[in-house]
Amino acid sequence: MTQNLFLTYLLLTPIIGSVLVLFFKKEQKQLIRWFGLAVSLVAFVLSLIIYFGFNSADPQFQFVHQVIWIKSLNVSYHVGVDGISLLLVLLTTFLTPLTLLSTWHAIEKNLKLFTFSMLFLEVGMLGVFISLDIFLFYIFWEAMLIPMYFIIGVWGGERRIYAAVKFFIFTMLGSLLMLVAIIWLAVYASNTLGYFTTNLLDLYKVGPTVPHQIQSWMFGAFFLSFAIKVPLFPLHTWLPDAHVEAPTAGSVILAGVLLKMGTYGLVRFCLPLFPQSAVQFAPAISILAVIGIIYGALVSMVQTDMKKLVAYSSVSHLGFVVLGIFAMTVESVQGAVIQMINHGLSTGALFLLVGVLYERTHRRDIAFYGGIAKLVPLYSTVLMIAMLSSIGLPGLNGFVGEFLILIGSFKSSVLNSWTFTIFAASGVIFAAVYMLWMYQRVVFGELKNPALKSELTDMNLREMIVIIPIFVFIVWIGIYPSTFLKLTEASSQAILQQVGMFR
């Protein structure tokens, strides 16, 4: 088998970068910033090279690199991408430099450690998306918790410790169950295949043969871990706290990429490893997803803190993704994958924009603002576009994902009922309510707080440089999603085939 080292180079870039950051002097702040940005840009370029070398017609994993790691356990360093993981890799490498650029002035305290954490976080996220060995996957999955814990706990707001611990405990709880399931599965493999293995491609053959009763438990353990990360209702309460306390950069990465690790896990592991259980539990999970869509939107509507509002809207948006995954039609799964990207872009943009206000006034409460349209017209326009993308206006990215998910779940034979779609579709009404209402109270009306006149300045060049690339993709996906749908089509179909084979 030919080895392809590109993914390893990609992974190595932020690893080396993060280690090198430690050698800088604390005072060389500007240098550290530029260095971090440069490293993340190199990673982005590398991921683009991979994108252009990727054959989207081939459903197999590509750019595979496999080396035996722990011989006795048959664990290997094994990485590779299919269309779905590649898209998420691109999202990660795309958002990381933008995030670093967005916090150019916001982070002064312990900048060295911050940059280290951000780059390390990128390693963890990339690792999760490219691992083809379940043991390796688990290491990255856990590793990425730590920098996030720091980012919230060190650079966060007033209640940062509470939020960080809550985040840590929630996610850790799920992970431990998953670890048990992983070990059990590997042991089971040694019974059926004759050798102990953590190779995902081997386990794809083993998982579906696990007896029904046990498979349900295994599925449950994996599912719980991912559902917490998504987060799926009712496991979502860590998210608003984490978001509110996290610095802007943390929120952007958290919403943009971290949550996708949960939905990615569902697609990569839950469906193909335990297809029978996935099908069996699909209606129940979809009910939770639909509740999440409506619940998230309703609770979002009554928030007084802008960040919390966006955080709860994430619960709603990710409900769509989970529904799409478990509806298990080509349309819905493709829509779910696109919606993962969409949510990363739209919600990422919204957090960035809340951060823009926060940086200037250190206030996030909606009631503090009002009528800022006159003071910051450019900001108001930009926020409007991000908002429209989030509420799924046709022509922008959000619509494509939601539409595919809804139309796919409507005709889903696994769910076999319109009820899911009908309730889920009502989410488009509530999304308009909470977003427009917030916009109205923050931007429109007469200027409520005259003190803002001196504090509030419009978006500067750096902030525009951060937001414009995101907008390019918001429009691109909205008008010509084929670029992205093509990338994931073969992979989505392969996963559905695996599920269909064992139904």
């Binding site: 390893t8 690893i15 080396i16 993060s18 280690v19 080396v67 790691w69 360093y77 390390f120 590793a143 720091f150 706990g153 060190v154 410790i161 809550k166 840590f168 405990i169 929630f170 009712p234 309460t237 619940y295 309703l298 609770v299 509507m301 009554v302 928030q303 080509v330 349309e331 493709q334 009528g371 349209a373 006159k374 206006l393 046709p394 022509g395 539409f403 595919l404 809804l406 139309i407 409507f410 005709k411 319109w418 779609t421 579709a425 009502s426 488009v428 009404i429 309510v433 427009l436 209402w437 109205q440 429109f444 009306g445 007469e446 200027l447 010509y480 999603p481 084929s482 749908l485 089509e489």
Partner: protein, 646 residues
């Protein structure tokens, strides 16, 4: 020209981008206005060219598709950005770009001096872009793109003066209300699309419609599809129960009310029903529902219009009422009559709104008709054109409104029955009354405004010329649809032109019962007589004996208040829907369920674990930070070592 039809979408988009991105820097109102108007004007010429070219084709070749690129392709779903150029879309396009162009020109005068002049023209162009997608799209999804797009523009333009008050709230509240109520309708539309896709395995118009005619599909499925789509239509076209946003939409600048909230966008629902006529025709129950809702909306809105005092509010309810007529027509199977009324209504209602704008402009932004009076001599051009439009909407024989309204009433009688006709005719009478009340209070009688502060004046010709063109159209626009009773079997040009579009639907519908010409002429005479008597009564009361009006309103105080307060529908919705959802979400879902129950469980668990476990206690002590740092560094080293040693 048919192949160039995409220009009619592209040019307004370019206009939007140019004015939207650079308008603030351009500053010069003339340049901005010309860019905006030219984008629409040229589009109109392209549509006209395509129209003439299509006219030259034999009837069976008049439906052409112009494909641009693939939008969504997943599994069996294949949605193209493609435009359908046929009799129906050309008719709508001519109205949208034609009336749209006149209103753009008018706006150069009306918006003169406004800080947001560039923004206004950018939004208007964006609206035309979206509206053209709506009427030209060759599939449901492109239609929906336009559908939501016009909703967005409506939102942006209602809240255009975002720092102004409007009634008890702000303009942005009115804008939000419009968007949200529309979204409720869109929810129905979406479900309709899903069911169509599931039933016919396509969302392309031609495919769906041909399959609808041939596939063995249960009537109940057709019924649900039609119901879902109709819910969408009630949102966009302001029908019961979703009409409440349109009166509030008057918070926007008056040209917006004319273009979006009278002539074009609000007729999108009528267009959609008309476009999907085969689906509706296959669901007789829903057809009846459409007719009944249309009829009730027409009647209800007309009664509210009787007592309103804001010039734009009267016109707004009049619009709701006229839209009701259009649905009545569609519901009884007279699809071409409904589109005919869309067209004539676009002429005279745009004219009425623009005339109202001219009055408001000349009266220093006063909108209360009780504070007008005798304006005829101050603004003669506005008066003349407004008067013509009033005659047209009232259905005076010879003007455009007469032809379209008469056709609707006749179809209602022939296909729906006498009661349908009667309610329609009563509504026509009410229409005549409130319109002449409006004209009397505004242009006739005593001058009730403060002469020291208000100096009424005629508007500049940039505004009055579009008025005159529209007035001309309001007069002659009806002659392309002369009723068959006068013009013979093929004399109704408009109907023959659209006939191929509705042929499949008509084939499914029961044919017209046999009625004599005498019946038709008799009913026509009756409704005209009713309208004339209403006109006489209104003129008499509001110019000569205003005491009668006061007398009546005080004697029937209950009914008067009910009408003045619009049947309290807004209040009922607020108390019955909005407040419960908001309070329930706030007080129960968030503050109890999320914080007390779920978080309570988690925190309780954490406390439990904490007291039982030293490791977790260390996390709480903060020791974990160093612990975790070591772990992280360790992992970094291991990974590095691992990869370097490969």
């Amino acid at each position: 020209m048919i192949n160039l039809i995409y220009l009619t979408v592209l040019l307004p988009l370019i206009g939007f981008l140019v004015n939207g991105l650079f308008g603030r820097k351009i500053k010069n109102e003339k340049v901005i206005g010309i860019i905006g108007s030219a984008a629409v004007g040229i589009s109109f010429l392209v549509v006209l060219g395509a129209f003439i070219q299509t006219l030259g084709l034999p009837a069976e070749e008049r439906s052409n598709t112009v494909e641009l690129f693939t939008w969504l392709r997943v599994g069996g779903l294949h949605i193209k950005f493609a435009y359908l150029v046929d009799q129906l879309s050309l008719t709508m396009s001519l109205i949208v770009t034609g009336v749209g162009f006149l209103i753009h020109v008018y706006s150069i005068g009306y918006m003169h001096g406004d800080k947001g002049f560039w923004r206004f023209f950018a939004y208007l162009n964006l609206f035309i872009f979206a509206m053209m997608n709506l009427v030209l799209g060759d599939n449901f999804v492109v239609l929906f793109l336009g559908w939501e797009g016009v909703g967005l523009c409506s939102y942006l333009l209602i809240g255009f003066w975002y720092d102004r008050k409007f009634e008890n709230g702000t303009t942005s509240q009115a804008a939000k209300k419009a968007f949200v109520v529309n979204r409720i309708g869109d929810f129905g539309f979406l479900l309709g699309m899903f069911l169509i896709y599931m039933t016919f395995d396509s969302l392309n118009f031609n495919q769906v419609f041909s399959r609808a005619a041939s596939f063995p599909v249960a009537e109940s499925t057709f019924g649900l599809i039609a119901l879902f789509l109709f819910i969408g239509a009630t949102g966009k076209s302001a029908q019961i129960p979703l009409f409440v946003w349109l009166p509030d939409a008057m918070a926007g600048p008056t040209p917006v009310s004319a273009l979006i909230h009278a002539a074009t966008m609000v007729t999108a629902g009528v267009y959609m029903v008309s476009r999907t006529s085969i689906l509706f025709a296959s669901a007789p129950v829903i057809m009846t529902l459409v007719a009944v809702i249309g009829l009730l909306t027409a009647l209800m809105a007309a009664t509210i219009g009787l007592v309103q005092n804001d010039i734009k509010k009267v016109l707004a309810y009049s619009t709701v009422s006229q839209l009701g007529y259009m649905f009545l027509a569609a519901g009884v199977g007279a699809f071409s009559a409904s589109i005919f009324h869309v067209m004539t209504h676009a002429f005279f209602k745009a004219l009425l709104f623009l005339g109202a704008g001219s009055v408001i402009h000349g009266m220093h932004h006063e909108q209360n008709i009780q504070k007008y009076g005798g304006l005829k001599k101050y603004m003669p051009k506005t008066y003349m054109t407004f008067f013509i439009a009033t005659l047209a909407i009232t259905g005076i024989p010879g003007l455009s409104g007469f032809f379209s309204k008469d056709e609707i009433l006749w179809s209602a009688y022939a296909n729906g029955g006498f009661v349908f006709w009667l309610i329609g005719a009563i509504t026509a009478m009410l229409t005549a009354f409130y319109m002449f009340r409006l004209v009397s209070l505004t242009f006739y009688g005593t001058e009730r405004f403060d002469h020291h502060h208000v100096h009424p004046h005629e508007s500049p010709s940039l505004m009055t010329v579009p008025l005159m063109i529209l007035a001309l159209l309001s007069v002659v626009g009806g002659y392309i649809g002369i009723p068959k009773v006068f013009s013979g079997e093929h004399g109704n040009l408009f109907e023959s032109w659209l006939e191929p579009i509705y042929a499949p639907a008509q084939a499914k519908l029961a044919t017209f019962g046999s009625h004599t010409h005498l019946e038709e002429i008799l009913l026509m005479a009756l409704s005209v007589a009713a309208a004339l008597s209403a006109i006489y009564f209104a003129l008499h009361v509001y110019t000569k004996k205003p005491a009668i009006a006061e007398n009546v309103s005080s004697r029937f105080k209950g009914i008067y208040n009910l009408l003045l307060n619009k049947y309290f529908v807004d209040e009922i919705y607020e108390a019955g829907v909005v407040q419960p959802i908001q309070k329930g979400s706030d007080l129960f879902l968030w503050k109890i369920f999320d914080i007390k129950i779920i978080d309570g469980l988690v925190n309780g668990l954490a406390v439990l674990v904490q007291s039982g476990s030293g490791i977790i206690r260390k996390i709480q002590n903060g020791v974990t930070q160093s612990y975790a740092l070591i772990m992280m560094a360790g992992i970094a080293v291991v990974l590095l070592w691992l990869i370097l040693s490969l």
